[in-house]
């Protein structure tokens, strides 16, 4: 099974955070394992095996998707943004990342990349979401540290121009 064959492996080309990667991958490889294990983009996390927790959320085009629910081969030709693609090259954080910091919207930080990606996709489509709209957008992302209150507050604050 470690032998590469055309039926079990395929060459894919995926643009991730502005860089195009070409790799030969097994057909059974999940996108999240491709990101983490093959490309060492370990900011995308795994918290469950049922597509429930959202720690693996990335942006595929403009949509927030769970990268544990997609095979790497299905991402062939796609453009993906992961948490590593949010801040600028020189480390300048996005307003959303800053807001998470200011509002204490993270503790252990394990769910944070997924939260940020879901919220980023929301803010692109709805720059000033209400509290309820934020909660709806984040209902596929579990957090076990914060109780969500500060996360929701941080996202709403970005929509309000960053004011606390």
């Amino acid at each position: 099974m470690s032998v590469s064959t055309t039926s079990t492996h395929r060459t894919i080309s995926v643009e991730i955070n502005g860089t195009t990667y070409e790799r030969d991958v097994p057909a059974s490889l999940l996108l999240v394992h491709f990101l983490r294990d093959d490309l060492d983009l370990t900011g995308t996390h795994i918290g469950c095996d049922t597509g429930s927790c959202g720690a693996c959320t990335v942006q595929l085009g403009s949509a927030a998707i769970k990268s544990c629910c997609m095979l790497a081969v299905q991402a062939d030709g796609a453009s993906i943004t992961t948490v590593e693609g949010l801040a600028s090259e020189d480390g300048e954080l996005t307003p959303l990342q800053r807001s998470f910091h200011e509002h204490h919207a993270l503790q252990c930080g394990y769910c944070t990349p997924g939260m940020l990606m879901s919220a980023t996709a929301l803010l692109e489509q709805n720059p000033s979401p209400s509290e309820h709209e934020v909660k709806v957008a984040l209902q596929g992302n579990l957090c076990r540290c914060t109780g969500y209150w500060n996360i929701v507050e941080a996202v709403v604050a970005v929509g309000e121009g960053g004011a606390r």
């Binding site: 099974m1 470690s2 097994p26 059974s28 490889l29 394992h33 983490r36 294990d37 060492d40 983009l41 370990t42 900011g43 995308t44 996390h45 795994i46 918290g47 469950c48 095996d49 049922t50 429930s52 927790c53 720690a55 992961t82 948490v83 590593e84 949010l86 801040a87 480390g91 954080l93 990342q97 998470f100 910091h101 204490h104 993270l106 503790q107 252990c108 930080g109 394990y110 769910c111 944070t112 990349p113 940020l116 934020v134 909660k135 709806v136 984040l138 209902q139 596929g140 992302n141 579990l142 957090c143 076990r144 540290c145 914060t146 109780g147 969500y148 209150w149 500060n150 996360i151 929701v152």
Partner: protein, 818 residues
């Protein structure tokens, strides 16, 4: 949203301590640059997957590995038979009968719960390891299963560990005061047949795992892992593996939540170590969610049977007696410590002086329990809160008034409980007033009527709890007199490096508790420099020499033990900096002050040495000094003041601090469906001096969310065959953003007189949310038959049953009056 009142003496605070300094940890974490164990990789590493038991109780007849080993890319396997040769059983905390349990890294001879690891398979990829595990053929002979702790103790029950002669792991009678006299004096005796605290855990989002390397030349293992109590893991692993503790290097950086659930991963770590040595390659083990739910660290399920409460006519509570039956699951990984930990809060927040509790712990065919946020105290606090509300309900007292009357009062502090614990400080009535005000309790009848007009039942509940912190491990001797543990400790080092960098090393293993930030705040104030100038190393490494036997992050203690060590080391360094400056300037030490990042002569600002000069002298520029300059490298071990408790009387101070949390909620129940909605919620916290109020509030929020989840949705449900029916996040509903009620928080500070900074450990919350939601449901149901809430977990179907048949629970409570 946040009402904050502070009475703490402002002089105890510096420019950084007491401020909501933004967290130092965040910058890496919001960029996905944290390093969790699963992010660590090694060339040629093998992925480990466990073959797990599909039975809750069975004899292992045979294991056939051949098909798995023939699969190309499979590196090797490990079985229980090999483990039994290569290791000794783990040390047992229990005295006999529990002390006879033989627990290994893999099942040996039989399996005792569904999901128990039987074989470990290692292969080139994760997928291949899983595929290969499927090819391992294990032949089982199923045995009779017992999943109920009460049934497990009955005559003729199937026995899990034959060497124990039954399923009893520990039993003891805990009695203080004069219980018979209290019941003779009582005007009312309230009897409660049965109360049940449910099985759940806080399910950290990151599951267990490790990357383990073996150095053949030195015989040392390095474990990059997320174990949250490395001191305990090493003590368990070393003797089992027949090696000294220095052969076991445990490293953590970022940990994706722990909540106690990551204390007992030592069996799996041993399996990884054995395989790293056997297969001559690094071993990568990442647990899957279903595996975590099936096998890791469930919270203690507990029954309280035959409870009787002695009450005076005016509502004064004199005492209680009860029998607690605790369910440890299949192995004793940290148990039976739960059999004593509860007694830190035996009396809850109340002044009753006469208590008898017979504690019995049973082993069952379910996943082993281990600490879970609020470990063992939460169960006891839920019990005392339930008792108060049931007494109020049946005797017609107001739940607020009966609490106010029976609370330990601020003027009683420090208060010695009937079992010798010392509540250090606090103002429980004030915390309750604040919570009630935040929740709008004065308008409750108006709201009740408004809700009724919509067909809803509205209720108000209070959950008053203690967060006891900084364990005296001497309490372990109350359950096993032969144990040689007592006291507590934590370590920190603070040094000034060559270029003047202030470097702090901790012994702890934070999982979101912001230790880098709060440690830097304490150090900055002592050295009179900026918080940003203090570099706190992320995580734990047992090769840093900054740990001791009790190092780790558990049981609400960092603000006392961790920061006590940090303060001690920083004070030492400050003294050395002053001494070195006095040597350079040839002046008395008391002429020197530390200020603005300099050591300088007080009345001569020109004579000032920057930190860089102070760091360089001893490290790199020390010729010509008439005597040795100080090292600028300071290690401090903080040791809280404890005595070994009295084993005969089961009496003594078991924890150093008691933080207060009072929660209050308003719930609405749908009469048709039994669905409970929490419509208002307030949590008031008093944890003494707060180093960083925002971080404290974050902990209060997190503990609240866990409690709300446990009260309404989260439960590890087993069927009678021992199958776990909630093995993943589909079936085990963790609350999401839309589930959370609006929250108001409040805080005030009653500094601890016993700790270096006036702080108290906090963060566990004592399950306040479970208590107050139970109370809120019971209050709401008064208008619909008056059912009594007897379970900690109340999903809609249980509430619906209480609505449909209120007589059933009412019939389990009786009042005998004089």
């Amino acid at each position: 949203m946040t009402a904050v009142e502070t009475d703490a003496p402002i002089l105890s605070k510096g420019s950084a301590v007491g401020q909501s300094v933004p967290r130092k940890e965040d910058r890496r974490l919001v960029q996905g640059q944290g390093v969790f164990f699963d992010d660590v990789k090694r060339k040629g590493m093998g992925y480990l997957h466990f073959v797990r038991s599909p039975y809750a109780h069975a004899t292992i007849v045979s294991i056939d590995l051949s098909a798995a080993l023939e699969l190309p890319g499979v590196y090797g396997t490990l079985t229980g038979d090999e483990v039994a040769i290569l290791t000794d059983p783990f040390f047992q905390i229990a005295a006999p009968p529990g002390g006879h349990v033989k627990d290994y890294a893999l099942a040996v001879g039989k399996v005792r719960y569904l999901g128990e690891p039987v074989v470990a398979v290692v292969a080139e990829t994760r997928e291949l390891a899983r595929d290969a595990a499927e090819l391992v053929m294990v032949d089982y002979e199923p045995l009779e299963v017992v999943v109920d702790a009460r049934a497990a103790l009955a005559e003729g029950a199937p026995v899990l560990h034959e060497d124990c002669g039954g399923n009893l792991s520990y039993s003891g009678v805990w009695e203080w005061g004069d219980v018979d006299a209290a019941f003779a004096e009582a005007d009312h005796v309230v009897s409660i047949d049965q109360l049940h605290f449910d099985r759940f855990n806080s399910t950290p989002l990151e599951c267990g795992g490790a990357l383990v390397e073996y150095n053949r030349g030195t015989g040392q293992w390095t474990m990059y892992t997320n174990n949250q109590f490395p001191g305990f893991a090493a003590i368990m692993m070393g003797p089992a593996m027949r090696v000294g503790l220095d052969k076991l290097r445990i490293v953590t950086q970022d940990i994706g939540g722990g909540f106690g659930n990551k204390i007992t991963s030592h069996p799996q770590l041993v399996a990884c170590c054995l395989l790293a040595r056997k297969l001559k390659r690094a071993i990568q083990w990442t647990e899957w969610r279903t595996e975590f739910h099936q096998s890791m660290s469930h919270g203690n399920e507990r029954w309280f049977e035959g409870t009787e409460v002695a009450v005076k006519a005016d509502g004064t509570l004199l005492g209680f007696r009860t029998t607690a039956i605790d369910d440890a699951g299949a192995y004793l990984r940290y148990e039976p410590l739960g059999g004593v930990i509860w007694s830190q809060v035996a009396a809850g927040m109340y002044k009753w002086r006469h208590i008898r509790l017979e504690f019995t712990q049973a082993m069952t065919n379910k996943a082993p329990v281990s600490p879970n946020r609020g470990y063992s105290r939460m169960q006891q606090l839920w019990f005392t809160e339930r008792v108060i509300d049931i007494v109020a309900h049946t005797l017609g007292f107001d739940p607020v008034e009966i609490r106010r009357k029976n609370f330990v009062q601020p003027e009683d502090m420090p208060y010695e409980t009937p079992n010798g614990c010392v509540y250090d400080s606090g103002d429980y009535p004030r915390a309750m007033e604040m919570a009630l005000e935040l929740i709008g309790a004065e308008r409750i009848e108006e709201r009740r009527a408004e809700a009724a007009s919509r067909g809803k039942l509205l209720g108000l509940g209070i959950g008053s709890t203690l967060d006891s912190g900084t364990n005296n491990f001497g309490q372990s001797q109350l359950i096993n007199p032969d144990l040689q543990f007592s006291g507590n400790n934590e370590v920190a080092t603070v040094k000034l490096d060559i270029f003047g960098e202030v470097v702090v090393t901790l012994g702890t293993t934070p999982q979101g508790q912001s230790h880098e930030t709060t440690a830097a705040q304490v150090v900055a104030d002592i050295l009179h420099c900026e918080v940003d100038a203090v570099h706190v190393r992320a995580g734990h490494d047992s090769y840093w020499n900054s740990h001791a036997g009790f190092s780790g992050t558990y049981a609400s203690q960092f603000a006392v033990t961790g920061l006590g060590a940090v303060k001690g080391a920083a004070d030492m360094l400050a003294g050395q900096m002053v001494k070195l400056a006095s040597m350079v300037f040839q002046c008395p030490e008391d002429a020197i002050e530390l200020a603005d990042g300099f050591a300088r002569i007080k009345d001569n600002p020109e004579a000032a040495l920057p930190f860089m000069a102070l760091g360089a002298i001893p490290n790199a520029n020390n010729a010509g000094f008439p005597e040795d300059p100080p090292t600028m490298n300071c290690r401090f071990v903080y040791r809280p003041p404890f005595d070994v408790p009295d084993k005969e009387r089961k009496f003594g101070n078991l924890t150093l601090t008691y933080a207060t949390q009072i929660h209050a909620c308003v719930v609405e129940i749908d009469r048709e469906t039994g669905v409970t909605e929490v419509v208002d919620y307030a949590a008031v916290d008093d944890c003494g001096v707060r180093i960083n109020p925002q971080i404290v509030e974050g902990q209060v929020m997190g503990a609240t969310a866990h409690a709300i989840g446990a009260a309404l949705w989260e439960s590890f449900v087993y069927d009678e065959d021992g199958n776990l029916l909630t093995p993943n996040f589909y079936d085990y509903h963790v609350p999401h953003a839309l589930d959370m009620p609006p929250l108001k928080t409040g805080a005030f500070e009653s500094p601890s007189p016993f700790t270096p900074l006036g702080t108290k450990g906090m963060g566990e919350g004592g399950g306040g949310g479970i208590h107050c939601i139970c109370a809120g449901i019971q209050d709401a149901l008064r208008a619909a038959g008056g059912a009594i809430v007897t379970d900690s977990h109340n999903p809609y179907h249980r509430v619906w049953e209480m609505l449909a048949n209120p007589e059933r629970s009412r019939g389990t409570v009786e009042v005998t009056s004089r």
